[in-house]
Symmetry: C2
Subunit: 152 residues, 2 copies
């Protein structure tokens, strides 16, 4: 896919995500060592109804589906960032969330005619249709080459 393929309003269903109890604890030990991500018997986890995944872990799993199913190596340049990363409700051990992305905006660059900026809304959704995580990635995408470079 190139810049031209990211038409505002297009929706893509991406690979679903899941985590085990062990995945949650292993990730938390490395990156987000808070009691409610580490120990289901901690007072902090019990107050939340049990172990919850780090929001960063849910974000990364969702982002992996985005990288492998939505953006393309041949067109995607390094991203400037993410807006409004929101953890509406946590992911719990054994759950599967579906992943959906919607093109919000695609704007050709004024200064660099070979590329454009794509804004998307990326969501992880539970089996009852509730959005657990959302974020708005910003991507710089190359435009489709107008002539085949191999033919020149």
């Amino acid at each position: 896919m190139y810049f031209e393929d990211y038409v505002p309003g297009r929706v893509f269903e991406l690979a679903p995500i899941e985590v085990s109890h062990e995945d949650i604890v292993t990730f938390a030990r490395e990156y987000d060592p808070q009691p409610f991500h580490l120990d289901p018997e901690s007072p902090e986890a019990r107050a939340l109804g049990g172990l919850i995944a780090s929001g960063w872990q849910t974000s990364l799993l969702t982002m992996r589906s985005f990288v492998t199913g939505y953006i393309s190596d041949e067109s995607n340049l390094p991203s400037p960032g993410i807006d409004e990363l929101r953890w509406h409700a946590p992911m719990r051990p054994g759950e599967t969330l579906s992943v959906r992305v919607t093109v919000l905006e695609a704007r050709a660059s004024q200064s660099k005619p070979d590329r454009g900026v794509v804004r998307s809304r990326l969501e992880a959704i539970d089996t009852e249709g509730r959005v657990r995580l959302s974020m708005e990635p910003i991507n710089i995408m190359r435009r489709r080459p107008t002539t085949d470079p191999d033919a020149s």
Copy 2:
């Protein structure tokens, strides 16, 4: 630390972060498999002057310093999210970045008198003082208990 300790304008220096070539590739294989994070000899990496760390990896390392050095188990509740995550320039193998956090805003909850909302600006900064990564985490913090619960 409790809600009352997060006074707007306070600045904290947190643990610095670093990544090796191997760290970058291992992380990218699992979460962000793009050529400029995987292979320094790829055309995509060469166009950027070599291998660059996933912005998500830089974010997580920065967040680990935030979790271990800024928020406290006894007061920090699950976070609603992050605003304006920005990858101003990439982190490269062997680099060390310092990590700084500034309290932006601390607002007591109207509906829940035991807690408040803290907004912070978290930055990873290179040796020349340039901000490579910034984000604005939103945290829900408990207020300091007015009486010692153990004394009752």
